[in-house]
């Protein structure tokens, strides 16, 4: 599959990592997505942050529990499809109660070209809620910093699982080429 990458990341993407760092986040663990590219790139250049690619998203839940046991904070970045991979492992958070901050870029949500993304994308928020995760949703670029700040506050000050869903329209329409 090939898609034309966005020429320049929207500015909300550049605001994510500084907000996380203001909460003393030291571990950024992720399965990559275009919407997270700026934060991942910035984390890789930052000596104060462990940037870690995962093979599947639920690894991040275990990793962040381990980091919390060790006394440090992190955040998990993924695409909406990854939420489906996480469901059973979310029991770790429910039972242990540790800060689990997830930033989820949406697919199957708005102007989706690939219908295979739609089933999980449409079920993402309900699935998170079923497993006890607090969710909020950003569809306007200006809402992103505010909501990430709010979700991080509730995760780190309340040992909660929180997820910010970053609507597909924020990332923009993928331009598919044959």
């Amino acid at each position: 599959m090939s898609a034309v990458p966005a020429e320049e990341a929207p500015s909300w993407q550049d605001q994510i990592l500084p907000i996380l760092k203001s909460f003393d986040v030291r571990h950024l663990v992720y399965v990559p997505d275009a919407g997270h590219a700026a934060a991942i790139r910035a984390a890789e250049l930052d000596n104060g942050i462990v940037s870690l690619a995962l093979t599947t998203e639920e690894e991040g839940i275990g990793y962040l529990l381990g980091a919390h046991l060790g006394g440090e904070r992190g955040a998990l970045l993924m695409q909406s499809s990854g939420v489906g991979n996480c469901l059973n492992t979310l029991a770790l958070q429910t039972m242990t109660r540790f800060p689990l901050l997830m930033l989820v870029t949406m697919r199957g949500d708005w102007a989706e070209f690939n219908p295979w993304q739609n089933p999980m994308g449409q079920a993402t928020e309900a699935a998170l809620k079923l497993m006890g995760v607090r969710t909020c949703r950003a569809d306007q670029p200006g809402d992103v910093p505010h909501l990430v700040h709010g979700a991080a506050t509730m995760a780190f000050n309340g040992d909660e699982a929180t997820a910010v869903l970053l609507g597909q329209s924020l990332v923009g329409e993928k331009k598919w080429v044959k």
Binding site: H27, V50, L52, A53, L54, T55, T56, E58, E59, G60, I61, G62, Y63, L64, L65, G66, A67, H68, L69, G70, G71, E72, G74, N88, T89, A91, L92, M95, T96, R97, F98, N157, G158, D159
Partner: protein, 194 residues
């Protein structure tokens, strides 16, 4: 000479002997009972579910407590569910992390159905493929003693498959209150609750 498989409790107790500042994460089922049987400890974190997560919890712990040895003690079935974790660990290779798999080739918690390792797969080769600098298949107590020293040396990410007998031993149940276990673990490291 017939091959004598290791006793899981004797092997676990030997690994946890004179543990000092060792941090331990156990995988669901028998490895949690084995660690408990060797003696409950504030620096044990026992998993009761989230199958496949033991290695990743130990990984996150090893990346934050870099001056302490971290041992993941789990079973073959639990490790098989999280094989991708070996690839993720392989990118960072914290030298203080050891994964020890108590490998009896069976799913002990669900009726002793044969697992993939029981059908001939060798987990240590996955760890080797993931660039772990030290991997072993351990079949005797001398090998267990070597592994115990390796854990405390913190000289490179280590992986060992311990070939144990498929015995069903009396259960030694660790606490199931994960919040309690988390809080005492963190307190032992000097961290507060919320």
């Amino acid at each position: 000479m017939g091959k004598q498989l290791l006793d899981r409790r004797a092997a676990s107790a030997a690994l946890l002997q004179d543990r000092g500042d060792l941090l331990v994460v156990t995988g669901l089922g028998s490895p949690s009972y084995d660690a408990m049987a060797a003696g409950d400890n504030d620096l044990n974190y026992y998993l009761w579910a989230a199958m496949g997560s033991a290695a990743t919890v130990g990984f996150g712990l090893a990346m934050t407590q870099r001056d302490k040895p971290v041992l993941v003690l789990t079973g073959d079935g639990e490790m098989l569910m999280g094989l991708g974790a070996l690839a993720s660990i392989g990118q960072k290779l914290p030298p203080n992390l050891t994964i020890a798999v108590l490998d009896n080739g069976h799913y002990g918690e669900t009726g002793m159905q044969k697992s993939h390792t029981g059908n001939g797969l060798e987990l240590a080769r996955f760890a080797e493929a993931a660039n772990f600098p030290w991997t072993r298949v351990i079949e005797d107590m001398a090998g267990v003693a070597e592994l115990r020293d390796r854990i405390h040396a913190k000289e490179g990410t280590s992986f060992a498959a311990l070939k144990i007998a498929a015995d069903e031993l009396p259960r030694a149940l660790p606490p199931r209150d994960a919040v309690h276990v988390k809080n005492r673990f963190r307190a032992a490291l000097g961290h507060s609750t919320i």
